[in-house]
C-alpha cells in the first residue's frame, strides 16, 4: 500500500516499546485512525512537533489486514504555543481533543468535524475559549454525530410550545422536554433563558447577554447529553475541576 499525505490533528500519543509511539489522528478524508510511528521517541526529525493537539501534515500508510496503520511522518504546521498559553487554554485544548477522540467512531470521514476542531484549536491561540464557543463546539459535534439534542421542540411530544414552567432537559430522551412530558425526577431543570442560551450558542450568536444561572444550566444540560453518549466522565473535566480547586486554595 502506498503512503498518503493528509492534514491531521494529533488526538493521542501513547508510548510503545522503547522507541515507538502509537498515535491517534483525526484526518478529514480518513476520519479517526491510529498508526504506529516507528522511532518517534528517538528520531524527532520525521515527527517534528508531534504532540497532543498538534495540527499538521501527516503521511499515513494502511497495513493490509491490520487495524493499526503506519504513521510514516508528521510535521506540525502550527505551534502548540497558543494552546499552552495558560492552564485554562491547555485544559480547553485537552477537552476538545478528548471529546473528538472519545465521541468519533474510527475510520468514518467527517470533514466538517475536522474543520470544526481545527478552527477551535486555532482559536485557543488567543487564550481559553469563551464558554459560548465551548457550547457551540459540543452541540455542533453532537450534531455531526447525529446526536444533536432537541432544543426547539419537546423531545417527548414534539410540541413547539416551550418555555412553560417545569420545562426540563432530559438527555436520555434526547433533549428539552415540556412540562407535560417531563417529571421532576427526570433530567435537569432547563429554565427558558437557558434554553434560549443553548439555541444562541448552537447558532454562534453572540448578541444577547445571559444570566449566569442560565449559562450554568445550559452547560449542565449539554454536559449531561455528552455524558449520556459517553457513559463515563471526561478526564479533562476532572482536570478543569482540580485546577479550579487548587487556584481557590492558593
Amino acid at each position: 500500500m502506498v503512503a498518503e499525505r493528509t492534514r491531521a490533528i494529533v488526538l493521542r500519543v501513547v508510548h510503545f516499546g522503547e522507541a515507538d509511539c502509537v498515535v491517534t489522528l483525526l484526518s478529514p478524508g480518513r476520519g479517526k485512525l491510529a498508526g504506529v510511528a516507528r522511532g518517534a521517541r528517538v528520531s524527532r526529525k520525521r515527527f517534528a512537533g508531534m504532540g497532543l493537539g498538534a495540527v499538521g501534515d501527516a503521511q499515513v500508510k494502511e497495513r493490509r489486514g491490520q487495524e493499526l496503520w503506519s504513521l510514516e511522518s508528521f510535521e506540525a504546521t502550527r505551534s502548540l504555543a497558543g494552546a499552552a498559553a495558560d492552564v485554562a487554554a491547555a485544559a480547553h485544548c485537552g477537552y476538545l481533543i478528548e471529546l473528538a477522540r472519545e465521541l468519533l467512531p474510527a475510520h468514518e470521514p467527517e470533514p466538517g468535524v475536522f474543520a470544526l476542531l481545527e478552527t477551535a484549536l486555532a482559536a485557543l491561540e488567543d487564550g481559553p475559549l469563551p464558554v459560548l464557543s465551548l457550547r457551540r463546539f459540543e452541540l455542533t459535534l453532537l450534531g455531526f454525530l447525529g446526536m444533536a439534542p432537541a432544543l426547539e421542540r419537546c423531545a417527548g411530544c414534539g410540541s413547539e410550545w416551550l418555555d412553560g414552567p417545569a420545562q426540563r432537559f432530559d438527555a436520555a430522551r434526547g433533549g428539552v422536554v415540556c412540562g407535560q412530558c417531563g417529571g421532576a425526577a427526570m433530567g435537569l431543570p432547563l429554565p427558558p433563558e437557558a434554553r434560549r442560551y443553548l439555541v444562541a450558542a448552537r447558532g454562534g450568536e453572540r448578541g444577547e447577554q445571559f444570566e449566569r444561572a442560565a449559562i450554568e444550566a445550559g452547560r449542565d444540560a449539554v454536559l449531561s447529553a455528552l455524558h449520556a453518549h459517553l457513559g463515563r466522565p471526561l478526564k479533562s473535566l476532572e482536570f478543569i475541576a482540580k485546577v479550579g480547586r487548587a487556584r481557590q486554595a492558593e
Partner: protein
Amino acid sequence: MGTGADPITRLIHELGKLPGIGERTATRLAFHVMRAPESLAQGLAQALLDVKAKVRLCSSCMNLTEDDPCALCADARRDPGLLCVVATPADLLAVDRGGAFRGRYHVLHGVLSPLEGIGPDDLRIGDLVRRLRDAEAASGGTAQPIREVILALSPNVEGEATALYLARLLRPLGPRVTRIASGVPIGGELEYVDQVTIARALEARREV
C-alpha cells in the same frame, strides 16, 4: 487472576502489568526465568523487594533515594540557590548527566495533564512551594535564598501548561523563574535529549 493459577501463568500475568510488556514478551520472559539458574530468580526477586522496601522519596527534592536527604541534596558543593524543576527522576538523570548544572533539583513526578485528569494536587507542587517558603523562613524571612527556579519541562502542551502554572505560583515567593530554552525539539522528551543539547538549553534559559 487469583493465586490459584499455575505459577507460570501467574508470572506471565504479573510481568504483563509492566509498561511496554505485552503478553508475548511476558511469556518469553517467564520461560527465560524458568530455564535460567535459580540464582537469577533469587536476585531478581530480591532486587524487586529491595526497591520497594529501601527506595523512597527524598523529603527535600522528592527524588527517589535510599538515604534521606538524597546524595544530591546532601552535596554541599551544589548551589542551594539554584533549583531545577523536572517532571520525573529520569529527567533529573538526563539533566544531571551532562554535568552542566550544579544546583539542586525538585522532582514533580509528572506534569499537569488535561487528558489524564492530573491536576496540581496530584504532583509534588505543594512540596515545592513549601520548600521555597521554608528556605525563606530559614534565612530570617528577609530574602529568598533560592535565587532562581529553572523549569526543565518538555515543550509540549502538558509541559508548557505546567511551566506557566508554576511560574505564576512561584514568582510571588521571590525567585526568578526561568525555563530552559527549547533547543529540545517541540514535543520532545527530556529523557531522550543528548547532553550537549541539554547544556545549551540550560545556558540559553529565559524568564517565563
